[in-house]
């Protein structure tokens, strides 16, 4: 199975519980279709570089998962159908990307992580 990662942007209008519910819904969809979730990362509410659907902020969420290729189409259809998701991007990870994301998760780039948390705080 190929490894993928997907970034989704949820509308800022959701409450914390509602946002969690969306995420659990999609996690369930993934595991039900034979995908295996490797890692999840919540970037929190971030300012967008340009307005999307007339909103200037969005909740970012990154999921890394292993899945059979046919599932990606199905997942993206579900993303399009869900109005709470403003934007999504699914990318398949090649060997360099895999090495990079593993290194990042193990905390090899602590400098990067610090700068990222600062951005979220603003």
């Amino acid at each position: 199975m190929q490894q993928y990662e997907t970034v989704i942007i949820l509308t800022p209008l959701l409450s914390v519980e509602a946002a969690k519910e969306v995420l659990t819904k999609f996690n369930k969809l993934m595991t039900d279709n034979g995908a295996e979730i490797v890692h999840e990362d919540n970037w929190g509410l971030k300012k967008l570089a340009y307005p999307i659907q007339k909103k200037t902020t969005g909740y970012y969420h990154l999921t890394t998962f292993k899945a059979p290729g046919e599932f990606i189409n199905k997942l993206e259809v579900e993303y399009r159908r869900d109005e709470r998701i403003m934007r999504f991007l699914t990318v398949s990870l090649d060997k360099h990307a895999l090495a990079f994301s593993e290194k990042k998760r193990s905390g090899a780039f602590n400098k990067n992580k610090e700068t990222k948390t600062e951005e979220v705080a603003q």
């Binding site: 942007i9 570089a49 990154l62 990067n112």
Partner: protein, 87 residues
């Protein structure tokens, strides 16, 4: 004050024969992360356009990857498509 008043007849030659190099090849970076907008800022001008290789010195192989990463970052709203000045 005195320093400000120094004037040169011809512009001083600074970094005259510094050769450009590909920073990815030099540092052994194999993957360019589209999620790191701060890093990608080095490869776009203040309008948000991708800088040419002749300015950044990036090799062709990595220029393609930079361009791909910038486009992905734009799609997920980390970088602007068009702007007057970044920040």
């Amino acid at each position: 004050m005195a320093k400000d008043q120094i004037q040169y007849v011809t512009a001083p030659k600074v970094d005259e024969n510094r050769k450009k190099y590909c920073r990815f090849k030099k540092n052994g970076i194999k993957y360019i992360d589209y999620k790191d907008a701060n890093f990608l800022l080095k490869f776009i001008n203040d309008q948000g356009k991708v800088l040419p290789r002749r300015l950044t010195g990036t090799s062709l192989k990595f220029q393609r990857k930079v361009a791909q990463a910038v486009k992905r970052a734009r799609h997920i709203g980390l970088l602007p498509y068009v702007t007057d000045s970044i920040k």
